[in-house]
Each structure stands twice: as structure tokens, then as C-alpha cells.
């Protein structure tokens, strides 16, 4: 059974159809890239899956349960975590706190435990801290040590992206949605992050869907590529297959002028 399956997913904003009936499946352990020109509905697709906007029509079946219309926090709890295209951290919280917040839906102690400092509360706080540090160490030396207590807004752009991935990892997802993880990174950082995305699967066991514009990254890590244009899936398959598909080329480059007239 597929890990995530969408059937006839539709979403319009006023008269604009952002997603017009997308059927999409991903199996456990896959890395799938979603590509398409600007305005193709890629981010809208993510927003609908992660619950930021409920779909107008269609079903989103995650691990056998239809999660369409659930609140984002419930969907995160069910096991889908995401990052944002325009990095959205909690800028004034520290690096460590950002990751700790990510663990919110996996921890349980409430106000009572905090006020009376129950042993269970303290144990959980310790575990949260250890786990946050462990997750951050996944990124090598970049987000550890003196970084722990720095507010997120001082981080460099690349580090913010890493921290956002770390925060998503902290929610213990099975499916990770990465929205343009390498946008704004320099070539060197891009190479590094590409490796890291591979590791997200091989070491951490996440299934990954990512939106990406950098075709080298797409070609390198994805098992499968899905191409969206005008909210519709126009092609699907291996990178080689998709990159030679004439619909895809047309979506990206347009049709030659004489053909258009014909």
C-alpha cells in the first residue's frame, strides 16, 4: 500500500484553480521530486497535503486514513512534516528551542507537571533537550555548540534552511515535505544538502517529497519525478524519462511560434 495517496485533489482560490485534480502516490522509502514552472501549483499541493488549506475536492489518504480537511497540527501528528519555501522559523526563539517546539506533538506533559516540576516532567524535558541536540548534530558542526542558544534570526540563510529541516525532523514524521530545500544556497551548500537529503532516507528512514528547481539536485536524489503545470500532472517517471518528455519541455520553454499557430 502506498504511504500517501491523493485522488482527484482540487483546490481553487477564487477563480484561479491552483490544483486541478492531482493523483499522486508515494511508497514508503521513496524520494519523489515535484517540479514544474512557477505557478504550477507545487506549493499549493504541499499546503493542501499539510492541511494549511483544506482541499475543495478529492481525498488524501495517508497510511490508510483520509486526512483531507484535518487541522495542520493533527496532520503533523499523523506523521507528515514540512518545510516552507520562504523559510519560516520562529526567529526570536533559539536554535534549540525551535527544535524543541517541533517535538511538541510527540510529548505530553502539561501545565500541572511544569508548575509542580514532577519527576515525569523533568525527565521529559531532559529527553526533549537531548533529542533536540541529537537532531541538530545531523547537520555536522553547523548548528551545534554555541549555536544552540543563538536566536534563529542570526543564522545564515543556509543554516536557516537546515534548522527548518531539523525542526521538521523533530516532529518524528514518516513523510517529509521539503519545499525548495536548496533555494538560495550556493553551489557548495547545494551539493552538501543533496547528500543530506539522501541521508534523510538512508539514515533516518524518512520518505521524502520535495519541490525543487535545481535539476541537478532533482536528477541526483529522486527515484521518481512528478511534473505539475497549471495544477495538473503532466508527466511522471524517472528523471531521464521526464527530462525528455515533450510536454515537460513545452511547459518549461513554451511551444515554438509556428507550431502554436498551427
Amino acid at each position: 500500500m502506498a504511504l500517501l495517496e491523493t485522488k482527484g485533489l482540487k483546490k481553487s482560490f477564487g477563480g484561479l484553480q491552483a490544483i486541478g485534480g492531482v493523483d499522486f502516490t508515494i511508497d514508503e522509502g521513496e524520494i519523489v521530486s515535484v517540479i514544474g514552472p512557477n505557478g504550477a501549483g507545487k506549493t499549493s499541493f504541499f499546503n493542501v497535503i499539510s492541511g494549511l488549506f483544506p482541499p475543495d475536492e478529492g481525498r488524501i489518504i495517508f497510511e490508510g486514513v483520509d486526512i483531507a480537511g484535518h487541522a495542520p497540527s493533527q496532520i503533523t501528528k499523523a506523521g507528515i512534516a514540512r518545510t516552507f519555501q520562504n523559510v519560516r522559523l520562529f526567529p526570536n526563539l533559539t536554535v534549540l528551542e525551535n527544535v524543541k517546539v517541533g517535538q511538541h506533538c510527540r510529548t505530553h506533559r502539561g501545565m500541572f507537571g511544569a508548575i509542580f516540576q514532577t519527576p515525569a516532567f523533568r525527565k521529559e524535558e531532559r529527553e526533549i533537550e537531548e533529542k533536540a541536540k541529537e537532531i541538530l548534530s545531523f547537520f555536522g558542526s553547523r548548528l551545534v555548540g554555541y549555536r544552540f542558544d543563538q536566536p534563529a534570526f542570526v543564522l545564515s540563510y543556509a543554516n536557516r534552511r537546515r534548522l527548518e529541516i531539523a525542526r521538521a525532523m523533530a516532529t518524528e514524521p514518516t513523510l517529509l515535505l521539503l519545499d525548495e530545500p536548496t533555494a538560495g544556497m550556493n553551489p557548495r551548500e547545494t551539493v552538501e544538502l543533496t547528500e543530506l537529503i539522501g541521508k534523510l532516507r538512508s539514515e533516518k528512514g524518512f520518505t521524502v517529497v520535495m519541490i525543487e528547481h535545481d535539476m541537478r539536485v532533482v536528477g541526483e536524489v529522486s527515484d521518481r519525478v512528478v511534473v505539475l503545470d497549471h495544477g495538473v500532472k503532466i508527466a511522471e517517471g524517472s528523471y531521464q524519462h521526464v527530462s525528455t518528455n515533450e510536454h515537460v519541455i513545452e511547459a518549461y520553454l513554451g511551444r515554438p511560434a509556428e507550431e502554436k499557430q498551427a
Partner: protein
Amino acid sequence: MTTVTTPLATTATTGLNLRRILKLGLLGGLGMVFITAIGMLAAFNRRLLITPILSLGYLVLFSLPFLIGHLMARRVEKEGVATAPRTSADVVAAAVAGGLAGFVAGLFAILVNAAPGLRGTLPNLSPALVEVLTLGMGVGIGLVLLTVLGAAVAALGAGFHWLPPRIARAVSVAAQSVVAVAVFEAVIDDLFDWFKTIPNFLYASRGGLTILSAIVVFLVAGGLAYFLPGRIPSLRSALMVEDESKRRRNSLIAAVVVTLIVLVIPQFLGGVLNELLTNVGLFLLMGLGLNIVVGHAGLLDLGYVAFFAVGAYTTAVLTSPLSPFFAPEMSWWQAFPLVLIAAAIAGILVGTPVIRMRGDYLAIVTLGFGEIVRLLLLSDWLSPYFGGSQGIRRIPGIGVGGSEIGGTSINLFVYFTLALVAVAAYISWRLEDSRVGRAWAALREDEDVAEAVGVDTVKAKLQAFVTGAILASFAGALFSAKVGSVFTNSFEILVSIVILVVVIVGGMGNIAGVAVGALVLIGVLGGPNQPGLLQEFGEFKLLIYGALLVYMMLQRPEGLLPSARRAQELHQEEFLQDAWLDKGGQLAETAPKGA
């Protein structure tokens, strides 16, 4: 960096710049006229600071020329821009501007004197006022005197910049100390009840410092400030150091010291001051509650007084024999848990409908809720249950060991208030650094993202509302027992605003900051219906509140004693710079590969 700016760029704003002199001089003059015309001068003149030469009124009046002088001679140092050297022209310019301000005030006195009809529209403009304004010298000499004094004070303000920084600081601390000792006359008088020599030496029999004692205080404070440089600011920065564990330790030490002081002080204070301290405690309780809602969770609640009212009225209904409809006549202790439950329910009732609202909308709707509660209590519908405008009277005090503690035994009641404040402070301290506290922080930072990373924002918001409501009901329950009666006019919208101002001025997000805010605003200025230490402020309280709020927003938006995080948030740019410099150092040490 290729541009080297010539001094020309800065001389435009300093020296003998006629436009600036006119602008500041006239503004200052208008300010002096304003202070006089609203009756502030006459009212504050009754309070002597240094007998017989300086009253609070004149201090306020002449603070304006001083400020003018200070502004005229100030050099704003900018990186990469040459600052013009100080010249005597600064002092002259300051004196001219200050003189102009005094002259305007003098002209105003002549105008008032010449046109007694003005009194019909501005009742404050009495002959007595003219006398006060012209220092009792008649309008002609008064005009000259005001001009000269204005010029002199402004020159003094300008000359301040010439002092070496260390001396300038010492002088400033000394002057502030003199004012503080004079203002805190009642407190010092009470504290040294057992050793009358000190207050007898300090204060003249009709109030205010004597000239001799003012000089002594000035010299002692100035000397201390000169020889112990930087102790006081370092105390403040000690509470804000970046290192988390150090900050924590320092805060703990500060908390212990403050607790000890707070435990001892009421012993020495008289009834009036303990009453005042109790009021501070009540507002501090509400401030701590609102701090959770606004400071931690970022939900701007302008109707917070509603929860205070729920606490007070629930206590009244449950304990008073005169409760009109339902009078179980419980003791305060029996009622207290029920009060908390009622407050929690009120928190949920108010919180649920506004859960989807944000920012301005939330503020307006809660503002409405605050008024609705008061108007409902007054309405024909609920009057039979809660007494309407008659209120509920004969609320018993808090029974402790067979006796009842209430407003009449304020010296004991204050301890009770402080105990609840301690509980509230402890609760908010513990909650801040917990899973719930982090959820609130995430909510404040970015609600959508908080939801997307798995924080149940509906639940987190309700938790914040309920916690805030419960802390406000602490204050409500105490208030009922203290006053012995509740009326709807104790729960006007103004109370909500004042609590919010306490939180903002003190330092949002910081327990100690809220305490400082409550002490300064409620203790010194006074609450909406409660007199403060400066009783003369009574009718001008709201004006001063407003002025203080505007000033704080412009100059210190993080509050008097901010939380480290809030300060960093509001000064992101500087912080980024520092971090950038830091990182330069760090990079050299660890030399990580890549970017």
C-alpha cells in the same frame, strides 16, 4: 568606505542654528504653557521637594528648558560621520532657546492677567496661578525672571555635556537621588519610625527636604556614584546576560534578595503605605496574568479586567451575607477554589469565540468582552443576582487563625497579597520554560507555522486565556476581601488599559519587569482608582500614563526591565551586528569548512 563626511553635515543641526532655536524654544514655551494651563503647575506646587526653594511643580515646569538645553547641545555620534566639536555656541544657543521658552511662559502669564475672561473657558487660569507662574513677582518682573531662569536652566542642560562622563553620571545620579528621597518622603518616614533622627534631619516640618539635607543627599549620592562607577547598570545587565545558566542564577539571587526585602519592609510601613503596597500587589497579580496572555502567547487582550471582575464578584456572591440572590456565606477559603473554577470557565468562554481572531481583531473583540461583563452586571437582567449598581457589600475578610484579615488589618493583608503574588510569579516562571511555554512562544512568533509544526494552537490559546484568567481571579478574590464590597465601577475598561501599560512599561515577557512596572506606575503614580505615592498626580495620572507610554514606545520599547528575548527582538539590528562580529571570532577559532 570612501566617503569622508565633512563637519558641514552635522553643523546644520547644532551651534547657532536659528531655526532649531526657534523650534525648540517655542515648543518648550508651549509645553510650559500647557503644564500651567491644565493646572498641573498649581497642583504640583503644593508638593515641596526642597523646602522652601523647589516644589514638584517648578521641577516639572523647568525640566522643559533643561531638556531643551540638553537637546540643543547633544551630539548624535554616527559611525563614519565626523561629529562637530563642542563649542560655546551650543550653550549660547541653548540659553537663547530656553530663554525663549521662559519668555513664552511669561507672556502667557501677562495674557492671563490681562484677560480675566479666559477663566470662563479654562477654569485653571486663576490669579493664584499667575502668581505661581511668575514666582510671586508680578507679571512684569515675572516675564524677565522666567526668561532668565529658562535661559539659565537650558544653559545648565547644555553645559551638562561638557562634564566628563563619569562626573556627569555622578551628578545625574545625585540629582535623581535628591528627587527620589524627596518623593519617597512618606516611605522613608515610615521605614525609620524607630530612628526618627534620620527623617527629622532630612525633612522640613511642612514636608520636603531642607536645603541642608538636599545638599547632603546630593553629595553622598554623587560621591557613591562617582566612586562606585557602573554598579547600578551592571546590576541590570546581570539580569540580562546572554548566557542562559548565568542569567538564571543571577535572577534567582535577585529573587531571593527581593523576597527578603519584601518580607521585612511591610513591618516598618504604616497603614497608608501598606495599603499602597497591597494595591501594587493586586495589579502585579493581574500584570503577571496578562503577561502570560500578551507577553508569552502574544494574544493582545484588552478586556482583561473581565476576569478580575469574575474573581471579585464570585468571591462576593459566595461569601457575603448580602448577596441578593444566592448567599451561601462561605468562608473566603471555601470560596477560593470555586473562584478559580469560575475564572477558568470565564477564560474558556471568552477564549473560545475569539480563537480564530488575530492581532487587531482580537484586541477589539476582547475590548468589547471586557465592557460586556461590566454592562451585564449592571443590566436589569443580572441586577437581581449581582446587585447592579448597588454592588455587593459586607464581604468578609480572609479568615486566618480565628481572626479575619481584610482592609482594616492591612498590615497583615499585605502579606497575604504578597504570598499570592509569589505563587503567581512562580507559576509564570515555571510555565515559561516548559512545553506549554514553548508552544506559547511559537504561537506568538508565527501562528500558522506553530500549527504546522504540530502545536495545537486552539488548545495553547485556551491554556493562555485560562491561566491569565486564573491569575486575575487571584487579584479579584483579594480585592473583594480587602475592600469588603464590589461595585461595577471598579471594573472599568481603564483597569484593563492600566494593567497593559504596567506590563509594557515594566518589560513585557519578564516577571521582574512586570513587578518594576507595577511599583513605578501603581506605587508611585497610582492605579485608576487608587492614589499612589505622589497623590498630587491624582487628576493628571492618565496624562502622565500616556506621556510615559509614548516616551517608552519611542525610546525604550522593551520596557524598564525587559526580558532578554524581548530586548533582542526589538533591537535585532544591533544584535545581528554583534552576532556578526562574534561569528567572525568564532569562525577564526573553529574554522568550519564551507560557508
